[in-house]
Amino acid sequence: MNINARGLHFKDLNAQVRAAAARDIVIDNCLGQRYIGSGLAGKNLVINGLPGNALGAYLDGSQIKVYGNTQEATGDTMNEGEIVIFGDAGDATGYAMRGGRIFVQGNSGYRTGIHMKEYQDKIPVVVIGGRVGSFLGEYQAGGVIVVLGIGQSGQLPVGYFTGTGMHGGKIFLRTDFEPEGLPPQVICREATAEDKQQILGYVQDFCAYFGGEPQQLLAPKFYVLLPNTKNPYKQLYVNN
């Protein structure tokens, strides 16, 4: 079914989405409506236009495709499902994700993938085609973040303070340059063939949505960031 979002308040739009019996829903003329797909399960949503903040927050197993850019907090605390953005994403994309996948064709803002978590086989994934702002993967406790840096000519595709407070998960950066100024709790090393094998599937899916050759994308140098378990945060404290 199609919903024309022109002039609709977010409450009305989201109520229509929740009430819809159809599995496949297309939202046209979307302009800034927030919380679309909040906690939504079992639907396929196509959004034409510009959804507002907190798109797919707590998403619980739906697919959302956005033909346009998204604003802040896309996929906030999402649990399952997939968000595919044919454009750029705003700040705090994938905040505290605990499952599911987010693919962004273009760039993503500050604080992408912060607080991501994982448990056993439930591993959230964020793949960004272009570059991201500062604070990528802050406090990351799990999951996989891949920044492909397409069009960056090998320049570092991240801003400052990547991985601050990281204590789990992995960050992959496609770049010729090792990020500088990482905290002592984070290890950075060049990705091995084995590391790249781990993200091959994600890159293949990225290419399936946005085009490109997976092997070609994976060929250049990648750096991988991991928490340094030998240098935990508790050393900051003394019992009193």
Binding site: G39, Y58, T77, R98, H115, K117, G165
Partner: protein, 501 residues
Amino acid sequence: MSVDFFYPEYEIVRDQNRCISCRVCERQCANCVHAFDEASGKMYADDSKCVNCHRCVSLCPTRALKIVKSGNTFKTNSNWTNDYMKEIYRQANSGGVLLSSMGNPADFPVYWDKILINASQVTNPSIDPLREPMETRTFLGKKPAKIERDCDGNIITKMEPNLELALPVLFGGMSYGAISYNAHASLAQAAKSCGTFYNTGEGGLHKDFYQYGTNTIVQVASGRFGVYKDYLNAGAAIEIKIGQGAKPGIGGHLPGLKIVGDISQTRMIPQGTDAISPAPHHDIYSIEDLHQLVYSLKEATDYQKPIIVKIAAVHNVAAIASGVARSGADIIAIDGFRGGTGAAPTRIRDNVGIPIELALASVDQRLRDEGIRGNISVICGGSIRNSTDVVKAIALGADAVYIATAALLAMGCHLCRSCHTGNCNWGIATQKPELVKRLNPEIATQRLINLLNAWEHEITEIMGGMGINSIEALRGNRLMLRGIGLTEKELEILGIKHAGE
């Protein structure tokens, strides 16, 4: 001895005439204080490891043990106190941030103890709660500003979602991780039995406790541990934790040694690594951003759950509360600077924030002045120690109170303030299976129920004495309070008169 040697602050005194060397103290102490000496056949204690939790004292069958403050002291100095000196030594040795547990123990004024309650004499006679009905039922959430009718003239009864409490006392947020499975089980069962609510804290909800959902408040904090749709829908209300009284402006930090097994699963973080919940929500920088989180939660739960916003009592608390009341939140929880914690930097715990009594009074007044008091209910906590604290809080303007330290005490906590070590001998603030099993959930549940029942009796007695038969009539009724030994300014902020006026 090195400069870092501290003579033990507390000494274990053992009456060797009474001691039967049964070794109970040795088995009960997770800090390995007690030991049996085969050669002499006697028990010995290493005071330096003792945290003064009283587990051994309580379980000694012959009352052979007591713990006393040791007489050893540095040269007396009112400026450089023993504590300040030791803290310097600790930091000079380690370079670390001082970490402590539970609420601010420092000697700041406790305003509850400087407020007196009124009673009726001759006129407006007192009420005997044993004979006459007393209403302590409380509803938390937005209240309609006016009666609305439909086109046929019938009153529209559709209300914003409210929490219904049998008495105006809830258990405050304590995470699964900070406290044990058995402690959570006890709080959940007691809340259900007493018609009130317990609060998950920020560590998510164990699968076993979803059955208590109708009596559960689920918390969403900056770390978003254990937050997903089922969790949000499991609870009766959702609390956004912005801050807590013990450490305003500081995030949570659950030591890695408490991240084991189910805790790791519930929080979805690796075993053994420290759980970091940063100070800010990284998507909240303004009241408008808070509004966004409130509504994303309302959308995710189809507007069925009241949303609570918990903030620490800080200097501008009244203005912040006004913003929260306009953010779409249904309830605001304010946590005073004496609130407890499983771990907080000592300097923050002991120096940041303001007393809940002053914060509560100024928030209630501000919301009334702005005509938005009905938009939001107010819960206060940190720290409520007894039923008269509850009565005074309600009369100062609270709709209900959170108790957490008091609930821990009811379960057996002896306030040794060592939660962050993970070695709680009472089975409460620990994840070690052999310690957790010491807390019997059935007994702890009953003790919590007893506490709430006792407080309810006392609250109705006190209300009856004032000639008030409904908690509604006590709410914000500051004429029922008088200050004692307070300055003009303190009285002005509290909005009460001095005793004798």
